[in-house]
């Protein structure tokens, strides 16, 4: 189910231990692990809050990009040499050593481009929709985002407050702030 503002809420915390407690409480209350997200202004050690490990397929992108770039480089170099078969410097018409430079750069360019696309895609960006968020996250606060709380908002809110949340943000408040 997609995250929409109406079924999501964000709890704001000061302390990493409180965040871990909140996640435990929410899971105990029946919320699925993959619907809970921790927001922070800096990366924390993996698994620090007991969150579910994130799976991704980023490593596929550089390989596909490299393959595409290699093909373009090969086409360009072989194609241009065959199109105008001029002997220069005694070198063969299809001169492989010089071709390798352009093919290599094409391969790396393809790998880089696709890797960046992959990073943006796997980060689930762009994410410009209305999701509960608070600028205090950027000031060092930690957030626990419950993405699918439809019909159970009160339950989620109770679990967050009991864990020590200093504020709860829902869609309406998030919009009001903007």
């Amino acid at each position: 189910m997609a995250t929409t503002a109406s079924n999501a809420l964000l709890g704001l915390f000061r302390d990493p231990d409180a965040v871990a407690q909140a996640l435990d409480a929410l899971r105990a209350a029946g919320f699925a692990g993959h619907t809970l997200k921790v927001l922070s202004d800096a990366p924390y050690p993996e698994g620090a809050f007991g969150e579910e490990p994130e799976r991704h397929r980023l490593y596929v992108f550089p390989f596909i990009g490299a393959l595409c770039g290699f093909s373009v480089g090969l086409l360009l170099t072989v194609g241009t040499q065959l199109a105008y078969p001029i002997v220069t410097g005694g070198k063969p018409i299809i001169s492989i050593p010089p071709m390798l430079h352009v093919m290599y750069e094409g391969t790396m360019l393809g790998a880089l481009l696709f890797t960046v696309l992959g990073i943006i895609f796997e980060s689930r960006l762009p994410d410009l929709g209305p999701v509960p968020y608070d600028p205090r996250i950027s000031e060092g606060y930690l957030g626990v985002l419950v993405t699918q709380a439809e019909g159970r908002v009160a339950e989620a809110e109770r679990a967050l407050r009991e864990a020590g949340a200093i504020d709860i943000i829902t869609r309406d408040r998030a919009h009001a702030k903007r």
């Binding site: 924390y44 620090a48 007991g50 410097g89 005694g90 050593p97």
Partner: protein, 448 residues
């Protein structure tokens, strides 16, 4: 994620007791290995003496002896730099590898006399393109001084870094010459400061001298013998491929110590994983230096350059070049880019074996080819002579040289602990596992 200390927790006292009790002991099965190595080493020595007795001509017959020397200097005498580099970078993952690397300094006992013997077999030097420019005594005197100094420096580094462990053996009452070797070490603050400073200075000098040592070897026993061969990148290429082979030797030694020496608690995943990344980088550098040599030579197309390409790359030693390129670059690259292979013990060990064989083949290619055309100054050759295949003396030297180094390595292990005990204990002091909220993290201290 790999941690920066042994796989199973171990205390400093346990490590001290465990590592020191191995000194002076002969593990079951090693007696047979030592005997075989000794026989091979002696056979190699006999073959070398026979070669000397038969005179310097034809020069081509010295190619395999020169290749053995090139291989040993590359794969063994560069290993102390592996130890020094991890110390300089304060990489705790490298602690289990340092002693295994430094022990290869004993190879200087084999390479020094072999180098000097080969210097006497060189053809006329006056007027020859050389790094010495007809300097008096060159190359015999200066190359001899260089290899002697280089070997002594390596042995000095080995001794210096082992001294605290000799003292520990002395204090534990282990039988052996440890009282004399410790030279009064009692572990005062000043002694530690002098030791640390000395290792840095000596290691730094060893590192700085290393590329020049490779230049003398590669150019005087290789490039200068080939008419028309002038390549500024060849000496750095020889040095970098030497470092690659040295790291491979260190990894193989560490794997052997772990498996046959029962050192699994000391040599875990982290050293292999850390070294695998560097091995990948060095394999890429191997390609880079090969390409730097090849590209201007191929592009220039002067008669001399065409001759060099034929002799060293595409002519009688084509298969050696293909094998060397595959084992030093293609296979290591294709294997080590995969996480499951890189983050393991068997993966980097297997790749290290490939690299070591590749380096051996590469030295065969360079030196056998060079000595096959070694002749008077100013000679001009149209085409490369046919492949010079090894005879029985060549095979005995090729096997005997490395056997002698391994023999000396095993003998040294009777007196020097295979893991640097004082650095291992230092690593235990500076690394911790701590809980962090709901996970456990490795904490690494970085003192000044």
């Amino acid at each position: 994620m790999a941690r920066h200390h042994p796989t199973a927790p171990i205390t400093a006292e346990e490590a001290t007791h465990d590592l020191l009790r191995r000194l002076g002991q002969v593990r079951a099965g090693t007696g047979g290995v030592v005997l075989v190595l000794a026989v091979l080493a002696v056979a190699g020595l006999v073959a070398l003496v026979a070669l000397i007795a038969s005179g310097p001509e034809p020069r081509a017959k010295w190619g395999y002896a020169a290749a053995t020397l090139g291989f040993l200097v590359s794969a063994a005498q560069g290993a102390p730099i592996v130890a020094f580099a991890t110390r300089l970078a304060k990489g705790f993952w490298g602690i289990p590898l340092r002693r295994a690397a430094e022990l290869f300094a004993v190879s200087g006992i084999v390479t020094t006399p072999l180098y000097i013997v080969l210097l006497f077999q060189l053809p006329d030097w006056r007027g020859r393109p050389s790094v010495w420019f007809d300097w008096p005594g060159a190359p015999l005197l200066w190359d001899s001084i260089a290899i002697v100094m280089f070997s002594l420096a390596g042995l000095a580094l080995l001794y210096l870094s082992s001294r605290p462990d000799f003292a520990a053996a002395r204090d534990a009452g282990i039988r052996g010459p440890f009282q004399r070797l410790a030279l009064g070490w009692i572990g005062t603050v000043r002694q530690w400061q002098v030791l640390s400073g000395g290792i840095v200075v000596l290691g730094g000098l060893y590192l700085m001298f290393y590329p020049y040592m490779h230049m003398f070897l590669a150019v005087d026993l290789g490039m200068s013998l080939v008419p028309g061969w002038k390549s500024a990148v060849f000496a750095p290429y020889h040095g970098v491929s030497g470092l690659q082979a040295s790291l491979a030797s260190t990894l193989l030694a560490a794997a052997a110590l772990r498996h046959f020496g029962g050192l699994q608690r000391y040599i875990g995943l982290a050293p292999f994983w850390g070294a695998a990344k560097i091995l990948l980088a060095l394999s890429l550098l191997f390609f880079y230096f090969t390409w730097s040599e090849f590209m201007p030579t191929w592009y220039g197309r002067t008669p001399e350059e065409i001759f060099v390409l034929e002799l060293l790359f595409f002519g009688p030693y084509l298969w050696l070049f293909i094998l060397s390129f595959s084992l030093n670059f293609i296979l290591p690259f294709l294997l080590l880019i995969w996480n499951p292979i890189r983050v393991s013990i068997k993966g980097p060990t297997f790749v290290a074996a490939l690299v070591l064989i590749g380096n051996f083949i590469d030295r065969l290619r360079i030196y056998v080819a060079s000595w096959s055309v070694a002749g008077p100054v100013g000679q001009h050759l149209e085409h490369a002579p046919p492949t010079h295949y090894p005879g029985l003396p060549d095979l005995l030297i090729l096997v005997g040289g490395p056997a002698a180094v391994v023999l000396l390595y095993l003998l040294a292990l009777r007196f020097i602990p295979p893991i640097s005990l004082w650095e291992f204990k230092n690593g235990l002091l500076l690394t911790r596992e701590r809980p962090y909220v709901k996970t456990e993290v490795a904490v690494v201290a970085k003192p000044r």
